[in-house]
Assembly symmetry: C2
Homo-oligomer: 318 residues x 2
């Protein structure tokens, strides 16, 4: 029913803020034609500034063949925006009533085989699609800020979304140069924001209790977990750090630490089922790579990141 | 009372595991003479392997002038290890009774003007120093794994530690090429591990509830928060993302989201005092840099990191 995601060449981007502008810049950099809908002509100056800023970074990352800012059209009429679009990225304000009305309109004016991805970071698709006559093609496609740089897009449908549309979105975003995460359930905060929010709330507790300052929080993150987290997520970081025993050793040895007051978040019970899900999941990611190889790769990547940061910071020193 | 931290040339590293080995490698790479105490001669092979692995990365990061693995001495007698040492990094097993006995002995055989830093990740210095006759020079110097690569060292004293020793450790670790974080209070998990643990427990809850797999968690972190977190900690990420309004805009606008179920960790009450600590803290970090400059610097660093990762991964492709 949906067109081949490889065949997509024209995208409509709804919204003139940092997210809508970031998406427009990303798709242009990947070589798509983009029509951006801005509610008010007065937004054009700020919108162009967002694109110009993003374009500098996108150029440094490498543009697709034929990519050009000249392939952007800015319109102020929704019908003009979606005319001929083969995919729609919606980044309207985070207001449920506004989004519901928008999707009601889009349901009327956009052919049913055009998938609509919402950038919402706080709303659920089940709610957003409530008044849309063609809800089955409406999915969440949630980026991470800044959307023109960070690869993650979290993808999940609402209750009325078809599985085909969700799968299509995953393939499309991947072709468009993103790192899609196909979510297992529709949950508040999705995956990345939930993890970030847990960390953020712990940070706020620490500042509230005089245990750390904002500067302490940032020093800790930038010099501790972060350079490793670009190379390995938290699961594989623990898996590889435990040597050949991997996640099984981690949970069997350090599982009792889940009872310790190392954060204000109570841990789940470490049931055999949870243990096995973690162990099996890490083993699946690792495949047949020996842990020494994964540790060496981690180290090479951390070194590359630290050297890259040192170089770019040295360039800034007056 | 303590010697000039710039004058330190000889370090004793206690412990032959990945942390003790990582510390020895780091100090050697910074040009120090290092004597490593290994409890059992049978540990030597594994210990040498840790150093050889670390040395490859440390060489790629850049060795200090005169740095050499030949400046390592391995001993199996504690008195030999601390003989002539001007600083001691203790990375013994995480067993309180064992550490208490060790610090009792160190208190007897190490001159009182030699600071001892403990790598412990789970114990408190107030407990570790309980039986030491010279507890005032005993501090926590907690690294982040792998300790030869990640810059962070969290520094805090116990109840009997002198403020001079804590301050000395901060200066010494900085001279030795680390990023010291001077902690405000002695709390379980210190700062970085607490933040990481909050994220980890949220991840375990999500896996336990079938909301995400370990692979989902890692995809989300590596492609979302991580590449930005090396450039900006969570506080400055929110500060700069909100434009000229900064953290004040973030908290005033998104503060209500702290009540939303975006993680299982309940947030603290956003009191005026907490708000102001966050706002003042971020403004202090920012200084007089306009947010556009900070956003542009963030983007340059993210681009550098993404390009560095792409290059190092391309080199691995067979």
């Amino acid at each position: 029913m949906y067109p081949d995601p490889q065949s997509i060449t024209r995208i409509a981007s709804i919204g003139g803020g940092p997210i809508g502008g970031g998406w427009a810049a990303h798709f242009l950099a990947r070589g798509y034609d983009v029509t951006s809908y801005l509610h008010d002509p007065a937004e054009i100056g700020a919108f162009r500034a967002i694109l110009d800023t993003a374009w500098r970074s996108l150029t440094d990352l490498g543009l697709a063949k034929g990519a050009s800012l000249d392939r952007l059209t800015i319109v102020h009429n929704l019908k003009d925006a979606v005319q001929g679009a083969q995919f729609i990225q919606e980044s309207a304000p985070e207001n449920l009533a506004m989004k519901q009305a928008l999707y009601k309109t889009l349901g009327e004016i956009v052919p049913a085989d055009v998938v609509i991805g919402s950038s919402t970071s706080g709303l659920m698709m089940t709610d957003i699609q409530a008044e849309c006559a063609t809800p089955e093609r409406c999915v969440i496609g949630h980026p991470f800020n800044p959307p023109y740089l960070l690869p993650l897009v979290e993808i999940v449908g609402g209750k009325k979304t078809s599985l085909d549309a969700v799968a299509w979105a995953g393939r499309f975003y991947e072709i468009a140069g993103k790192a899609p995460l196909m979510m297992k359930k529709e949950i508040p905060g999705f995956v990345a924001t939930r993890l970030q929010e847990a960390l953020w709330r712990e940070a706020l507790h620490m500042v509230a209790n005089g245990e750390a300052t904002p500067e302490d929080i940032d020093i800790a993150l930038m010099n501790g977990p972060a350079p490793r987290m670009v190379a390995q997520g938290q699961c594989m970081a623990f898996h590889v750090a435990c040597g050949a025993g991997g996640m099984a050793t981690n949970l069997d040895q350090f599982g009792p630490a889940l009872k310790l007051p190392w954060t204000r978040l109570t841990a789940p019970e470490l049931t055999p089922e949870l243990r096995n899900r973690m162990v099996d999941g890490c083993n699946a990611i690792a495949g047949d790579r020996p842990f020494e190889d994964m540790a060496a790769q981690r180290d090479r990547e951390i070194v590359a990141v630290l050297n890259a940061l040192r170089d770019v910071r040295a360039d800034q020193t007056p």
